[in-house]
């Protein structure tokens, strides 16, 4: 199976070309180089592919709803995943429920594949919660905003998995997947994570979505050489796939996760994609990239590609599309209703959970604040 690691190229004409299973026109790609990836999807049915398509459409709808909510002042900020649906939905579906995911902050599509209620993510962007969910309910950790920091948490978690049998925990075959962007690969923490993962032979996959822009900084100013080879010096082999190809993303992630979980060590996947939208709702891409470039990637839309494939294989028709549209309409309504129902948390909640144990400093502040608030009340308890 190691041929995947030694032959990253799609063809001999470009040794760095990403591996594909679906081309931008929606045709299946069959080459000698992608045989290992093809084997990974051989058990997928057309129904599975329909699920991928529907999930990608839902992720895109979520993006549209959240962006609109931000424009209406209902969210303080939102980080869209527009353009990265294939990389996220594909890799997300490759995970087992027992695998642990450490997302960055744009992995809404992955969250959906974990069975997360996406609305919960918007608590963070509305400013009512720093997290918003239980990391272990769906084995999807909280978002991490300090770029690359979570690569080490993921690696440590994988080192924990390796020790479980020794502390009487059932030794499962879980693996860990950490999601990173191209910008994160410049962070020292990511290099340290690759080093720790390698020497420990930890069951972890580094899934790098190279969306080509770290806010306004392009790949050319971020790194030299190829990202998928970044781990090699640390002893972490890499694969490059077309991140706008949902099947290739699925296949590479599934292969790498199995590689890791079977004790063969960590793998880095570079999924080459494109951030079709802004970095966040506060960003303005017109200041740093061209319309031509954006159009070039719109023509390689990850959703159009899979839809074309489904249609060509008679697995999708207008009736399906109409049914999906109605479903997404309901989803949108749910998201809007949920966000608007999120009220202001209690003021005193700022003192909750600073420590897991009683703490004199927090207690002092909490008591002072309560007294201060009470000073505005008249004796009957009403506001003065």
């Amino acid at each position: 199976m190691t041929d995947l690691l030694s032959t990253p190229g799609l063809s001999s004409t470009d040794e760095h070309a990403p591996l594909q299973l679906i081309d931008p026109q929606g045709h299946r790609v069959i080459t000698e180089e992608n045989a290992t990836l093809r084997a990974q999807v051989s058990d997928l049915t057309l129904d599975d592919l329909r699920t991928f398509y529907k999930d990608m459409m839902l992720a895109r709808r979520f993006d549209a709803e959240a962006t609109a909510l931000q424009r209406q002042g209902e969210l303080a900020l939102y980080a869209p995943l527009l353009g990265q649906e294939a990389a996220q939905i594909g890799s997300g579906h490759a995970l087992r429920p027992t695998d642990m995911v450490f997302p960055s902050y744009r992995e809404h599509g992955v969250a959906h594949t974990r069975g997360m209620d996406l609305a919960k993510i918007l608590q963070l962007f509305r400013g009512v919660d720093h997290g918003g969910w239980d990391s272990f309910e769906k084995n999807f950790h909280l978002y991490t905003l300090v770029i690359g920091s979570h690569a080490l948490h993921a690696t440590g978690y994988a080192m924990g998995l390796q020790r479980d049998a020794k502390v009487g925990r059932a030794a499962g075959d879980e693996a860990v997947m950490v999601y990173l962007g191209d910008g994160a690969t410049s962070q020292g923490d990511v290099s340290e994570a690759l080093g720790f993962a390698a020497v420990n032979n930890a069951p972890i996959v580094f899934f790098v979505q190279n969306n080509q822009w770290a806010i306004s900084v392009p790949n050319s100013k971020q790194f030299k050489g190829e990202l998928y080879t970044r781990g090699e010096g640390f002893g972490v082999p890499g694969i490059r796939v077309d991140g706008n190809d949902v099947l290739a993303s699925f296949a590479a992630a599934r292969w790498a996760l199995d590689h890791a979980r079977s004790g063969e060590g960590p793998v880095l996947i570079e999924a080459l994609t494109y951030r079709m939208g802004a970095h966040t709702t506060s960003d303005d891409p017109t200041k740093y990239r061209t319309r031509e470039e954006e159009q070039h990637w719109r023509d390689r839309d990850p959703i159009a590609r899979v839809k074309a494939l489904l249609e060509s294989e008679n697995a999708w028709n207008d009736t399906d599309e109409t049914a999906l549209a109605a479903e997404l309409e309901g989803f949108g309504e749910y998201i809007r209703g949920y966000v608007k129902s999120l009220g202001r948390p209690e003021s005193t909640s700022i003192f909750d959970h600073v420590y897991a144990t009683d703490n004199a400093l927090v207690r002092e502040d909490r008591e002072w604040f309560a007294q201060y608030e009470a000073s505005f009340m008249d004796t009957s308890g009403g506001a003065r």
């Binding site: 948490h153 998995l161 080093g195 400093l361």
Partner: protein, 342 residues
């Protein structure tokens, strides 16, 4: 100044106490914690066969194996960051940072991740990570090996910051730090590693040493507040002052976050005078917080301003000059005289 008799020494150690160097006391505490809970792991640079550059972990890898005493790559952020992941998986990592001046590559993980995870997860995630840091000076070391950065961590909500002042506390406090569900910065006064003190290895944990300061010596005229390496200096100063008829009460803070203000205030209400001693830079240092709190709560009892004896506002000096920098017995007594002169 009122006439005083020399203050009694702190209660003698129990009979089962044996003299043990500070470093051996921590070693014994680590061993006890590891024996009790198999989820306790040690991680750090050179802590395996070598036993750490100060030999604090000596013999532990042989006893507990390489999976529990982990020689890590030379990367402090990596040590703390992976400890966070291990803690998420249910382990209780104890990280050794080789020297105080090398903690800064891990500063981001400590302050932005470790300190906040419990809060941002609304209490769903506990990170019981202990970070052991040999700190402070006095050993004639080269640059970056003698610093006292504890205030930087005490300024970060979510962390506990402690430093034992006696061998017995070193033994007990390291175990209580490991048992705590909160992240703990455990600053070890490296200059005291080889000083022996009575340690009773049968002392149970649970005495709340991470929250409670201790009166290391009772007195009536001046309260000397110290922690970590300056506790011994303060006790020596008190001894010298007693010979001249001044009764000094020494408070060993044990924790600078959270500060046990009540114990300090109770003492100052009695003495009316307070001097705070630490090696950390005086400006914006822990002593400033103690002084502010004492002033707020003892305003009418104070006979003199609270004085601080600490590091000057310069980078830690060269080894040949470090004893001009470290708060000495004479510098402490000078400040004691000054608060008594009011």
């Amino acid at each position: 100044m009122t006439a005083t008799v020399p203050a009694p020494q702190a209660a003698p150690a129990p009979n089962s106490a044996k003299p043990l160097p500070f470093a051996k006391a921590i070693n014994a505490g680590l061993r006890a914690a590891m024996a009790k809970d198999e989820r306790v792991l040690l991680m750090g640079e050179d802590i395996g066969p070598l036993g750490g550059v100060f030999r604090v972990t000596e013999g532990l890898q042989a006893e507990f194996g390489e999976d529990r005493v982990v020689d890590t790559p030379l990367a402090e952020s990596g040590i703390i960051g992976t400890a966070i992941g291990l803690a998420m998986r249910g382990y209780r990592p104890v990280c050794e940072i080789q020297f105080d001046g090398f903690i800064f590559p891990g500063f981001d993980q400590i302050t932005t991740q470790l300190a906040k995870m419990h809060y941002r997860s609304k209490g769903r995630l506990n990170l019981p990570v202990v970070i052991r840091v040999p700190f402070a000076g006095g050993i004639g070391a080269v640059e970056h090996h003698s610093e006292s950065p504890e205030a930087l961590f005490a300024h970060t909500p979510g962390l506990r910051v402690v430093s034992p002042g006696s061998a017995q506390d070193a033994y007990t406090m390291i175990q209580e730090a490991i048992a705590s569900p909160d992240p703990v910065l455990f600053f070890e006064p490296k200059g005291r590693y080889w000083e022996k003190g009575p340690v009773d290895l049968s002392t149970p944990i649970g005495s709340d040493t991470l929250n409670k300061a201790v009166v290391a010596r009772t007195g009536t005229d001046v309260t000397l507040v110290a922690y970590g390496p300056t506790v011994a200096t303060a006790l020596r100063a008190a001894e010298a002052a007693a010979a001249e008829g001044t009764s000094i009460e020494v408070i060993d803070l044990r924790a600078i976050s959270p500060l046990d203000t009540d114990t300090v205030v109770a003492s100052v209400k009695k003495t009316g005078r307070c001097v705070v001693v630490h090696e950390a830079v005086t400006y914006m240092g822990p002593g400033a917080e103690v002084a502010a709190r004492v002033t707020e709560r003892c305003f009418y009892e104070l006979q003199a301003p609270v004085l601080r004896v600490g590091g000057f506002h310069n980078p830690y000096p060269v080894a040949k000059l470090e004893h001009d920098y470290i708060p000495s017995l004479d510098r402490i007594l000078d400040s004691v005289d000054r608060v008594l002169a009011y």
